[in-house]
Amino acid sequence: MFGYTFYWSLVWDAIPELLAGAWLTVQLAALSMLLGTVFGLPLAVARRQGEGRAYRLATAWVELARNTPTLFQIYMMYFGLGALGIQISSYWAVLIALTFNNTGYLAEIFRGGLAGIARQQLAAARSLGLNQRQGYLHVVFPQLLRIVFPGYVTQAVWAMLNTSLGMLVGLQELSGAAQSAQSVSFRSFEFFLITALIYYVIAKLIEFGARAVFWRWLRT
């Protein structure tokens, strides 16, 4: 109808490479979300203080991570550091840049969640003999997860989709693998349609997985 005949067999031949790329995508998304959570929680707490050195550092991080393109952050990690003589591989450049990016967004998601938890709870925890850190870990954060859950899952999907930018610094994640596989014959439509489908399936798996986790552990 549009003068284009689809050659699906070329894609089937490349499925192992595409799946290897998909695995790298999932791995990068999971690691960058995990690290983003670990860094994002203290940043959110620091942002809530509203003053001090930690607050300023956290604010700078959040501002920079959220107001510059992810692509720029990846390029800075790869070519920017390279210009300073610091060589890191495509994998680490993407992981560090995505972690930086996720941390910024997650910190704001967490801060929003913290706003929904009465400050008196922390004081109450202190009065029961918990120190500040224990108060956050055992009283505030467990409630926080429930509040921020939808935003958190959205960010996880974003992180997964953002890994596709790794292609531009030579990383063979799902997009890179697809680009590389289609680039022999340039039967691009076939390859990118299947690749989009794989992204969709991964995103749906994250969504359904999250729903199951919420149902099982976080339902009130």
Binding site: M1, Y7, F79, G82, G176, Q179, Q182, V184, S185, F186
Partner: protein, 269 residues
Amino acid sequence: MNKTVLVMAMALAAGQSWAASTLDTVVQAKVLRCGVMLDSPPSGYRTADNQPAGYDVAYCDDLAKALGARAEIVETPSPDRIPALVSNRIDVLVASTTNSTARGLSVAFSQPYLSVPIAVLTREGSGIRGWDDLKGHALGGVTGTTTEQFLKMAIGSWKVPSTHYVGYGNDNDSYVALEQGKVDAILLSVPVSTLLIRSGQFPHLQLAGMAPMPPDLLAIAVKRGDTEFLNWTRLFVWNQVASGRYKTLYNQYFAPGDAPSLSIGGVDY
């Protein structure tokens, strides 16, 4: 019901636009949308005031002139070249494209319009003096290029585990990666390499002999089903050589003297 009519109308419109040859649409519209790589001097680059220039750009202007049209230069980085043609963003591709059979599944190629030898480009201090020294090094290239495929095949046959390959999104990124030391060598045409070294932008790059592959025969590509325009393009390439314009352009952008032969002995194209 309405949907069916809409779909049928779209099919009809699409079918009709396809039926007309690019030859006719260009002559009527008086504009030839021409895909060129602009990060590949001297074939395609931007002048100081950001205007497209180079051998391929001049070739596009000639093509357009012969059709009574003006050339609209569309920048297509290496991996975008063939998709740009397939998705109808350009009418013709004059972008140093090697005429591989795999690519022939997606677009139709004219006979060669330029021939360039391929060299090993490396960085001072990498210890690479020639092709055989590439084993064990980090090597780079641009995704989807024929030099990439040649290099990957060679790496596969060497079976030296520490050799690895990184494919970048465009030519410029591969030069930067080489200059910065992310990779130790890339394969690049001799004229482009020479210009890069002379440009002063990449002070540490140097040539390390030739790659053991035949000269890269570059062809013009048109949409796969458009036989009429392909025939005309072939005629045009023949005329460029016959009229001496090929030699003039070669002398202007590449080197003085005779322009390289565009045929291979022992076989017709």
